[in-house]
């Protein structure tokens, strides 16, 4: 029916609208039977954090997420794929990242969204600095070993 969809990738300071991003992938395409979204939010770590500051590498952030999205399009029969990552100062409870994957059946949408998040975590050039609620100097968030492991599991296929 439709040509292979082009992933939508955005790096922005502003928040995003999950419902609008779902609608962008589903409206006018009655082949879509499944949409999976992932929203990553800023936690307050038990009240310890006042905000996370997200630094990124302009140009490379978009390019790297485009590469990951293109790989997801090759691996799964997707009808749409969107990734939006915010930068700047983000208070607890606010959105940080959104992934939306649309497909005919649910398995492809679930797997592609999970794949995109695993690789985004370990390969997209973003760094989080903690701003503490108690006013002391915060530190840069350490990379989680679990995130590298999560990306590795996709190599087994």
């Amino acid at each position: 029916m439709t040509a292979a969809p082009v992933p939508v990738i955005r790096i922005q300071a502003e928040d995003f609208d999950v419902a609008a991003e779902i609608a962008r992938l589903t409206e006018g395409n009655a082949d879509v039977g499944a949409v999976v979204t992932f929203t990553g939010l800023c936690r307050d770590e038990g009240g310890r954090l006042a905000a996370l500051e997200l630094e990124h590498y302009p140009g490379m952030a978009e390019a790297e997420i485009c590469r990951i999205a293109a790989e997801a399009m090759r691996r799964w029969p997707l009808l749409g794929l969107t990734a939006i990552h915010r930068h700047g100062m983000i208070p607890p409870g606010d959105d940080i990242v959104l992934v939306v994957a649309a497909s005919t059946h649910r398995q492809a949408a679930f797997e592609a969204a999970s794949f995109l998040m695993d690789f985004l975590k370990s390969r997209a050039p973003f760094w989080k600095k903690e701003h503490r609620a108690d006013g002391f100097e915060g530190s840069w968030v350490d990379a989680r070993e679990a995130d590298d492991q999560a990306a590795l599991r996709w190599r087994r296929r």
Binding site: Y57, G59, H85, K121, P125, K128, A143
Partner: protein, 84 residues
């Protein structure tokens, strides 16, 4: 001249976000570059103390420490990524 760009705590420790450098002869791989940069002063030494944790990109693509610098226009050094 090659443009070097730094991010996160690499940027903070070096004290600048970018600079243009003339790479001396003999600097062929990114490992060579890291080693040469460490000799440029305390701030570089502190940023690159554990070169194995430093990630490198050439012209906005991830590369390994053993890769050749070749005709790189922009080389980025940064810590492991923590986005998402």
């Amino acid at each position: 001249m090659t443009k070097l760009v730094y991010f996160a705590w690499v940027r903070e420790r070096i004290g600048k976000s970018e600079e243009n450098v003339s790479l001396p002869a003999g600097i062929e791989t990114l490992a060579d570059l890291l080693s040469w940069l460490r000799g440029r002063g305390e701030e570089y030494e502190s940023a690159l103390l554990r070169p194995e944790v430093i990630r490198v990109a050439i012209d906005k693509e991830h590369v390994g420490h053993g890769d050749a610098i070749g005709g790189a226009r922009e080389i980025a050094l940064f810590p492991p990524m923590t986005g998402g």
